[in-house]
């Protein structure tokens, strides 16, 4: 127990009587219902009824097993409670969504492999005109060969990037997020810095491709 933690939170997590814990829970809900409602409404574009269902689910899960999740946060101590609550509420909303509507999983190829292939595909679109001749002039067989070659080399080049740059590319090209949303995720001070970093990464990839033999029209 830390001394700067609100004592009602300690009452919730460490109260020796049910009344103490109930009072702690009452306090917790009062303190954070606004943030949680904001988060669940933000997580789905459904109706207010839907938001209330998600909200109830989030509260239920937060209180489950004598507030197991909250205890994990309290023991961890690295993040602010509000940040952690938003993350947990988001995660629970996704779980709720899956429970209610289900989710189909692809099989055969692992998610990571798919990610790399798809990312290569997307970045290749960006780079193709710069590092190859006009694809419209290729024959069918030539096109398959060249595109395959490009993807293979690009996948290697992507693996040479550091984690932040790979995440940047995924957020930008896979998720199509605007720079303003990417900036806080990567702790960049502004969208301008995102664009600058993006240009830097794409330039790096072009150089990598060139060094791996993909230059002009000849891979």
């Amino acid at each position: 127990m830390t001394s700067d933690r609100p004592y009602m939170l300690d009452a919730l997590l460490h109260g020796t009587t049910a009344a103490e814990r109930d009072a702690g829970w009452d306090w917790f809900v009062e303190q954070h219902s606004r943030l949680l409602l904001h988060t669940v409404r933000h997580a789905a574009s459904g109706s207010r009824d839907d938001a209330m269902d998600r909200y109830a689910y989030v509260l239920e899960q937060l209180r489950a097993n004598e507030c197991r999740r909250l205890r994990t946060w309290a023991d961890d101590g690295r993040s602010r409670l509000s940040t952690w609550l938003v993350v947990v509420a988001r995660r629970l909303c996704a779980d709720f969504q899956r429970q209610r509507y289900g989710r189909t999983r692809p099989d055969a190829v692992s998610a990571a492999q798919q990610a790399r292939r798809f990312l290569a595909d997307l970045v290749a679109e960006e780079l193709r005109e710069d590092v190859t001749s006009d694809p419209a002039e290729w024959t069918g067989a030539e096109q398959s060969l060249r595109v395959g070659e490009l993807h293979e080399r690009l996948a290697d080049a992507l693996d040479s990037l550091d984690a932040a740059d790979r995440l940047l590319l995924a957020l930008r090209f896979r998720d199509a997020l605007p720079a303003a949303r990417i900036a806080p995720i990567l702790s960049l001070p502004s969208p301008f810095h995102v664009y600058r970093r993006l240009n830097h990464v794409l330039a790096h990839l072009r150089r990598e491709l060139e060094s791996r033999g993909i230059e002009d029209a000849v891979p």
């Binding site: 700067d4 933690r5 609100p6 009602m8 109930d22 306090w27 009062e30 303190q31 219902s33 606004r34 409602l37 904001h38 409404r41 933000h42 009824d49 938001a51 209330m52 909200y55 109830a56 209180r63 994990t72 961890d76 690295r78 993040s79 602010r80 509000s82 940040t83 952690w84 938003v86 993350v87 509420a89 988001r90 995660r91 996704a94 989710r103 692809p106 190829v109 998610a111 798919q114 990610a115 798809f118 990312l119 595909d121 679109e125 960006e126 550091d162 984690a163 932040a164 995440l167 590319l169 995924a170 090209f173 896979r174 998720d175 199509a176 949303r181 806080p184 995720i185 990567l186 702790s187």
Partner: protein, 214 residues
């Protein structure tokens, strides 16, 4: 390039990844967003998220929610005008009119519980009366009406705080369904409260109320 275009998604990315044991814990994601994750762990999280659809969605969603959330304004402590109270010393007036200093806030900026009531909109639970003894089969919960369009959720818990039953309604009363009545033991204490989401998206709660079963 629009990755959200399912037709142009040869690898079925729209359904791609799924949360698994490799995904970072919520505590790590939160610490990352707060800038409090160690460099090595941040690198690991970013590398994972670059390949994990769910974790990127979580990062982006949480970051958006945090960025768009506006904390409720804190009410300033009011100091009454001095007026004709010149005879009283300033120190005495301050003692009388200004709230005493609050204990330090928690790391999350949470305030002393003594002043919590200020930001919480309350409404009243009516039935069963606090401390009443009722038969589980006859339980009807009722509360004050808030503006039309309000959605209410009633939660019933036992003494350990375990939620037994919860129901959403647009009405201002609910009868405990016959299917839920067996969850209540005779001679035991139970607690209920109602939360409300108003049409203007503000929230309100009743106090937790207690009853005993016959």
């Amino acid at each position: 390039v629009n990755a959200k275009n399912g037709d142009a998604d040869p690898y079925h990315w729209n359904m791609a990844t799924h949360r698994n044991g490799d995904c970072p814990a919520d505590e790590e994601v939160a610490a990352y967003l707060d800038g409090r994750l160690a460099a090595g762990a941040s690198e690991q999280l970013r590398r994972h998220a670059a390949d994990c659809d769910d974790c990127r969605a979580l990062l982006a969603g949480a970051s958006d929610s945090l960025g768009s959330y506006q904390r409720p304004p804190r009410r300033p402590y009011r100091v009454a005008a001095l007026g004709g109270a010149a005879a009283l010393s300033a120190a005495a007036l301050l003692l009388m009119l200004v709230r005493p200093p609050l204990p330090p806030h928690g790391e999350d900026g949470m305030r002393n519980p003594a002043v919590l009531q200020e930001d919480v909109q309350r409404f009243a639970g009516i039935e069963p009366a606090d401390g009443a003894a009722v038969a589980a089969g006859d339980l009807v919960f009722a509360w004050d009406a808030l503006p039309e369009g309000t959605v209410y959720r009633l939660t019933l818990s036992d003494e350990r705080g375990t939620m037994l039953w919860s129901e959403r309604t647009d009405a201002t009363s609910l009868r405990l369904p016959a299917s839920a009545a067996p969850l209540l033991n005779p001679g035991a204490a139970y607690y209920w409260r109602v939360e409300a989401l108003l049409p203007d998206l503000s929230t309100a709660v009743t106090t937790v109320r207690r009853f005993e079963t016959l």
